[in-house]
Amino acid sequence: MNEAVDVLIIGAGASGAAVAWSLAETKMHILCLDQGGWMNPAAYPSRGRDWEARFFGDYSPSPNIRARPEDYPINDDNSPIKVVNFNGVGGSTVMYTAHFPRLHPSDFKVKTLDGVADDWPIDYDTLAPFFAENDRMMGVSGLSGDPAFPPTEPPMPPLPLGRSGAALGKAMNKLGWHWWPSDTTVATTDYEGRARCINLGHCTPACAQGAKASTDITYWPAALRAGVELRTHCRVREITTNEHGMASGVVYYDKDGVEQFQGAEVVIIACNGIGTPRLLLNSASGRFPNGLANSSGLVGKNLMFHPYAQVYGFVEEVTDSNRAPPICLWSKEFYETDLSRGFVRGYAFQFGRGAGPVMEAVMSEAKGILPWGAAHHAVFRRLNGHRLQLSAICEDLPEEHNRVTLDPHLKDIHGIPAPKVDYTIGENSAKMMEHGVARAKEVLAAAGATDICVNCPILYGGWHLLGTARMGTDPERSVVNEWGRSHDVKNLFIVDGSVFVTSGGVNPTSTIQAIALYIADQMKSRLANLFD
């Protein structure tokens, strides 16, 4: 029998780690359960000669391909964008590009500004101190002074522009369009015990140098020092409730596959926009027949991905290719609404430095620009190490038919029903992607690139899992309130990307973590009447 804890956090990724660390100062008994284990940097791909090949196997971004014991299957057959994530201590911060923009102030007021979707119940100014705190904890490198964003103060200088960044910056200047070196969680100086970046390049599937921030090496060491307990290889099946309609704890399978009960006074879910609705729907009971915290019927609905429109080409000069962190710049030229473009809201561009030889060969062969036969060698030498690429990361508006449900047949290794994703790209997003492709081609033309290729959308591009347990003040139109507490279950909180009301047009990890810190702060300030 496990002793009941004060706070039980489910998930040790981006948001779970942040909320654990922030709550630790309360000295409550805090326990986090994660379905995965600690990462072993000695086994990371960039340490071996097969570093690129592993991207197609045990370090694939798709859980369905990767299929580690920590992963659960996801039926995404009915979606043009496949879900990608990582499971384990650190969650998807282990496997991400470390590109670290924040949502813009306008992203929180889309109904007021543009008449679509809904406003958030919180705003940028509310989150600003938590963005800054998160930047310090994760260790952000960047350059102050971006005219496209309110002032920020990244604690480390930006990554070098490199050859690719300079070539792309030059092209953007020809067009007179905004660009800026990206905020990134890749450390450019030694920082809080982390070694600085040495340009391993293959950053996305985990950083062997430890220069890229993942919460297993940022928040978690601090949280553990402060007394938080982290129990690994524990997969939660369901959240239980008592006769008062309050969460009483969870049922989980431990590392030996043995079913366990863990009681808790407060339960916090941090399982991402797919895992969180899956858990809530799997927690249906006589008292909550449609799933826990689902009186609104919105659990699992309004899934937003950020459809990516990727365009790339090849220039005569040598680019950085795989010899540097993959993303170097962003552009917000088309971020804010301009109705003359034919759509509302907008997108950011993120600019890539290139690819390694295997990736280049595989992608170029698939696109038909790398021929078979005698011509192969000459063409490969023209392509390899000469790539420039950019992606429009498009704001996805919430639509209820884009949803996560439980698959009636598919189950994980513990027999727990797996999530099923039904998703289509909306008309507004499609127009935005088309616009992004056209502008990206102009950028590449200005850079002198040829052999232009398009991936629209990026098939395995469902990194950002948002909106499936949205926050709001109206219990009929939202799952959690403006500080992350379930409207239905007063001791149940959600702190991950599920609570996003709208998606913005940037990578969400920074905002997810700022929200987690904000919710933790709200909880701390309301401890005396947390359940009122």
Partner: protein, 149 residues
């Protein structure tokens, strides 16, 4: 105990012939073809989770060819390969990727490309700063983020 080879002899023969069609050797660049014994051995040794789709692809190829690929005349071989590429789906894509990923990590090939024969860690690479003055016109722009009420 002997373990069963991942591919039958006939499948290995077709794999070798097919790999050479994708990447033949080149005297000009001083590189082997993808049918080179070392590269083929790497493919077979590291098939792992790709074994099933590769088998499936090679079975499909065998059905299209009707006989060992190497026995077809060059024109027919080209036709079969094209049809295989167009009709093989995910399994064919996996087979091609497996050939490419083993070819482009071979020492002789990397040397010819001017790439170092090592993994990224622990040495890493040098990234030049680039010309930061390029950012001057952007810095001169007025604030462009949208104010909210």
């Amino acid at each position: 105990m002997l373990t069963k080879p991942a591919l039958t002899p006939a499948q290995r023969d077709d794999l070798r012939s097919f790999a050479a069609m994708i990447i033949p050797d080149s005297a000009e660049y001083k590189v082997p073809g993808a049918d080179d014994p070392k590269i083929q051995a790497d493919i077979l040794a590291t098939l792992g989770r790709d074994t099933e789709p590769v088998r499936e692809a090679l079975d499909h190829l065998a059905r299209l060819a009707g006989q060992p690929l190497a026995g077809l005349d060059p024109a027919r071989r080209e036709t079969v390969a094209k049809e295989f590429r167009n009709s093989g789906g995910a399994a064919t894509a996996t087979l091609i990727r497996v050939v490419l990923q083993c070819y482009y990590r071979d020492d002789r090939v990397l040397r010819s490309l001017g790439l170092e024969l090592r993994p990224p860690f622990p040495e890493g690479y040098t990234l030049e700063q680039g010309d930061w003055s390029l950012l001057d016109p952007v810095k001169a722009r007025p604030a462009m983020w949208r104010r909210v009420p």
